[in-house]
Assembly symmetry: C2
Homo-oligomer: 720 residues x 2
């Protein structure tokens, strides 16, 4: 039986360590204090105040009892074992405590203590030692340097977070955060929205269980419907992907916020692909590829959570807007258009139905302007929204209104009746709403926002979530075929590799064998060979210096274009060898590559690089020199299917170029997507050795895409 | 004396109509009602409740008195005249009422009545008639179809807006809105922030005074420090520009929100420049050019207003961040980088000073992580923020914290002390703040936000406002020189024009005379003339069909490139004339243009078009075919200086191309800016006739920019 599944199965006779951690039947507080305002006093206070029903043990040599509960001098003296230990000791005492816990049969601990990895090299050593000790003694640890966690369903308050000071009624949201202070603030905001946190977990330094471990455990709880996470960094890429996949399998949305979107993650890597693959871009692409919703900040996260906690998912991207203000309607329609939602024209039968209930001066289009007349005639609002939502092209509704302090009862009643008469999701956007109205609507489970654009963004997140579920199902169906393709590619590549930059002829042959169209190349070690290669290729050729030590050939004049006679080929060979020798006397020169001149009206950059967290990452960018200027690139984890390749192309801002601009022929997107898929499969197969691969440019002409330059670098294998 | 200046001069013996409207010493309510919940009852209720000190007269044949105030059967029966009339009558009775008001010497009226321009053709006719009647009788009208207005300083409540139901304490913000419902919501949000509205005005259909008229009047009031406006459309471009200029002269920031950012404004105009000049882009550019801050929605407007109401302006764009959470610091630094703020490294003396007060586990960089330790040691927060703000590279500060429900007194006190010890602006960002804390900080005049990114956006708005003041001062200094240049250009252009498309040779000559570098051209009416022109120009030439009826030459094969011998020139002439004749038998063919082939490594589109609201608008875009795909263009109202031309270039997303990418030479930006300025001056001089002008492409080579194709269209002049 899956350990995490047992979390909520009370019949399970042998709960896992993770289960004991998150749903302990007994808790020991090591370093307990009667000073309830202090870090080591707060957990006991919360456990008592909030009515934890399990047994509580205390350890502290200074006290015999605290709040009427017996206090033992040390862990060994405990009368029995416990499921979970809360460790609130100075850093230097923690390791010994963990060993004692293990010896006492206590296999799960949450460690508040700071003074570990966050405190430089000495702290990192201490943390590594702690981690090893925990492993050796079979103790699963959460932390150190964390605020602990709350499991509000079961009254477990293993935390000193300020969040626990207020009301902590359980609810359908699980929130796991790497930041203590910011996480506490977000948890408090979730509470303000009346959403209810089932779990609130601060992971701290993650010396034991990781963010993904904890999130994977809590999403299995059937009382949890939506998962939210706050990240500051991510080392365990595969763990995050497992989490994302499990969330889509369970049909539970996962919303993540990660800070560090800008320069922080930029690499100084020399290669083109490397320098563009800002870590955050890769992270963002991985989320999109795996059906995770990303919230850019805490406000957007809250808005998404509120929308996702409602139990209705739109069947499409058609938005119906009913508003009291024409201007607010325009503002919302603008934002909807920006986010890819549709604000469809209404069907004739909808228009006819609306015309019957609308006053002369309202507009019966979409947005529907219901004006303020519904105060005199409440049915006006009720019927017009019901009819709007009944339109076949409308999949989600937003009702905008403002103030109406004197009419809260009336309006709450109308919105409840609307909900009964439709099964489509709809949000209320109530600007400058009376607080009572917001409270009552939320108590009714009706989603309410305070600003129009935020309501639209939340609607877009719901629509995106629905798309996500569909794509995730497609991906599950493709998974076996992709794995088999990678397996096949792995067995086909049996050549001997050298370290570093691969010979162009070899790299080209591998890619051609993998089904990636590449311009034909030949290596010439002498002028005669260059002339022979030119004759064989036929037509104009390009000559390029070939050396494992030179990757940027153009910069030292190592490329000659459009040669088409014997004399210039022979001269060209000599010129390139001389230039390279002069510019880089240290470089090993293998000779000169002779390649047919390729033509194309569109230029792409396609590459693969190794991301430290996620592994092989595929990149595609449009526009030659503009790739650098505009960073118009899309990323995916390899391998990908052709369908995913098409979605990658759809993310490019300059994608209109693919469709042909100013009378130019449209590009065969399927052929490009096939290239991307095949390259990604090959790269995944080569993952153990491939460091990076750069096809720059890939030219797209009438015969489809063709890679015309290739830099392929393998990692060095250390003698073992 | 300026009429608007008299607004606040109580000694003025003859106030203007606008003054009487906004600051009436007596008010007559026409259509008054004792039912205080109704539209025509509410103004009297508010005037009484809020203590209006002027005289009140009532008109309604149904009543003899209301609330103890005498009620007259009609306007003519009033015992004396009044400054302002509030008209709350059915639409069909309004015009007669206005006439009666004029006859009674009442020269200002606010008209609530709907049923005018907002109700189709019949309503528009009624409104035109009303407007003419008001003019004829010398009555200045605000509305119709408006909620009226509040002048909270003087207790004037000429409104039935819900906003007036709550507390309406006067404050430094003047808010004028074209939308009643949305405007009321925004006014209520301003009140929620504790900012205080001095004026709240709904302009309605603007049959009399316009948005700009009203805003111009209220910004002159010395009690107003910040102006805010909400727009749904803008017909009076020059009025908006006058308003913007007056605001910068007065040093009062103007924040505008305008809905309709997306497709709504797109034209179907055939020409390149026309099709790109989405109206909202022009509007946005005009605001930027004239120092107006644009808020994308009501939340951003409120954030900007709160920041602008504080009396401190940053001296630069250096941001100092003090935070309780490392992650929140990263999130804010990310957003700051996106918005062009700097988060500078701290000076050695600042670092040393911080190290003295910071605990070991805080980070002394920027963002400064002060941790939660300041609860035990309040001086930690106080001293570290003071020292951070004292850094010479820090011009504005943000302090981030969360919850701290138990420490409101302590924290409010610390922030007040910080304010005393620095003269730099700083904001508090307090996430999930206790409401009391927010209330008290705002009462102290300390700016407080609830989310980190919003605090950053507000800081960026303050920095932008400071830049705006500097640019506005520069523009004032340039204004006379630009006007003189336009005057000179006007007197130089004395040729006779034909309607429609101008001959290329003539257009080129005008532009060359105006200092715009253009590739030399000659018109050939026969093959021999084409050959002669080729010999004269020397080197490769391009041939283009010349016809006032053909603007898209390429599409019918009307352009031949790189010709450089007599035979092909002669053939080319014949080919073009035949092709054009075959494709467009109706077109008048003037002959063929012979032009030197120009080379350049960078391609721009530069154009001028007439905007219906603002007049001549200059456009520059980068990237040939990409201009269409990426819409990477910048707009300005003509004329502009060279300095403004440089700012235009700086707005292009692909501006890095100007600096040279991959070893390409940098473009001479000054030469491009000079071209833009000269073209804009010429276009301004030609404003009465010029409809549009398209230089596409302008190629930039080693000798600077050169226009190589030109379409110039003059409007038709009707016989008068």
């Amino acid at each position: 039986m899956n350990a995490t599944l047992s979390l909520v199965s009370t019949e399970d006779p042998a709960p896992s360590a993770l289960d004991r951690l998150l749903r302990p039947r007994s808790i020991v507080i090591v370093g307990a204090s009667p000073q309830f305002a202090k870090v080591n006093g707060r957990p006991l206070k919360h456990l008592i105040d909030k009515g934890y029903t399990g047994r509580i043990f205390l350890v502290n040599p200074k006290y015999r009892e605290i709040a009427g509960i017996a206090c033992y001098p040390n862990v060994a003296a405990l009368p029995e074992s416990a499921d979970l230990a809360i460790v609130a000791l100075p850093a230097r005492e923690v390791e010994a405590c963990i060993a004692a816990l293990g010896q006492r049969g206590i296999v799960a601990a949450v460690i508040f203590s700071s003074g570990f990895g966050e405190l430089g090299a000495e702290g990192k050593r201490l943390e590594q030692s702690l981690s090893a000790c925990a492993d050796a003694h079979g103790v699963l640890i959460c932390g150190p340097n964390c605020l602990g966690f709350v499991n509000a369903f079961d009254g477990v308050y293993a935390t000193f977070s300020q969040y626990a000071d207020g009301d902590t009624g359980a609810g359908p949201v699980a929130f796991v955060t790497q930041s203590g202070a910011f996480g506490t603030a977000i948890a408090a905001l979730v509470r303000q929205r009346g959403l209810g946190l089932g779990y609130f977990i601060n992971t701290g330094n993650e010396a034991g269980v990781s963010f993904s471990d904890l999130m994977l455990a809590v999403i299995e709880d059937p009382r949890i419907r939506v998962a939210a996470g706050y990240l500051e960094g991510m080392r365990d890429g595969p763990g995050l992907i497992r989490l994302a996949e499990r969330c889509t399998e369970l049909g539970k949305p996962l919303v993540l916020t990660k800070v560090g979107r800008m320069a922080a993650g930029v690499r100084a890597a020399a290669s083109h692909t490397g320098s563009l693959a800002v870590e955050d871009d890769v992270f963002d692409a991985v989320l999109r590829q795996n059906g995770v919703l990303r919230a850019r900040n805490e406000e957007q996260m809250l808005d998404m959570l509120e929308a996702l906690c409602s139990d209705r998912v739109p069947e499409g991207c058609g938005l119906g807007i009913a508003t009291q203000s024409g201007g607010a309607g325009v503002m919302m329609a603008d934002r909807a258009e920006e986010l890819g939602l549709e604000v469809p024209a209404l069907a004739p039968q909808t228009q006819a139905a609306l015309a019957k209930v609308m006053p002369a001066f309202g507009a019966a289009g979409n947005p529907v302007d219901v004006t303020g007349q519904f105060i005199a005639n409440p049915d006006l609002l009720l019927e017009s929204v019901v009819k709007l939502l009944a339109d076949p092209q409308v999949h989600i509704g937003i009702v905008w209104l403002q103030l109406m302090t004197a009419h809260v009862d009336l309006l709450v009643n109308i919105f409840c009746r609307i909900r009964e008469r439709t099964d489509k999701p709809f949000f209320i956007c109530w600007v400058a709403a009376p607080p009572e109205a917001v409270r009552r609507l939320r108590a009714e489970g009706i989603v309410v926002f305070g600003a129009g654009e935020r309501a639209i963004e939340a609607a877009a997140a719901l629509v995106q979530y629905r798309r996500t579920l569909r794509v995730a199902a497609e991906r599950r169906a493709e998974r076996a075929a992709l794995a088999a393709a990678v397996q096949r590619a792995t067995s086909e590549v049996c050549a001997s590799f050298r370290d570093g930059v691969q010979p162009t002829v070899q790299a080209t042959a591998w890619l051609q064998a993998a089904g990636v169209p590449m311009a034909p190349v030949a290596l010439a070690c002498q002028g005669d060979e260059a002339v022979a290669a030119w004759r064989e290729l036929g037509g104009q050729v390009v000559l390029k210096i070939e050396s494992p030590d030179i990757t940027h050939k153009t910069e030292l004049g190592g490329v000659l274009l459009k040669l088409n006679d014997e004399v210039s080929i022979r001269q060209g060979f000599t010129t390139l060898m001389q230039r390279a020798g002069a510019a880089r006397p240290d470089a090993r020169l293998d000779g000169v590559i002779v390649q047919s001149m390729a033509a194309g009206h569109l230029e792409l950059v396609i590459g693969v690089k190794r991301d430290p967290a996620f592994g092989m990452v595929l990149m595609v960018g449009l526009g030659g020199v503009l790739v650098e200027v505009l960073k118009d690139v899309a990323f995916r984890l390899a391998p990908i299917s052709e369908a995913e390749g098409l979605r990658m192309l759809d993310e490019l801002r300059m994608r209109a170029l693919l469709d042909g601009v100013r009378g130019q022929q449209a590009v065969d997107r399927a052929a490009l997507a096939a290239l991307l898929s095949r390259l990604s499969v090959w790269a995944a197969a080569m993952a153990p050795r491939l460091e990076e691969l750069d096809l720059n440019p890939v030219l797209v002409g009438p015969d489809g895409p063709l890679g015309v330059d290739c830099v392929m670098v393998f990692s060095r294998v250390e003698a073992s």
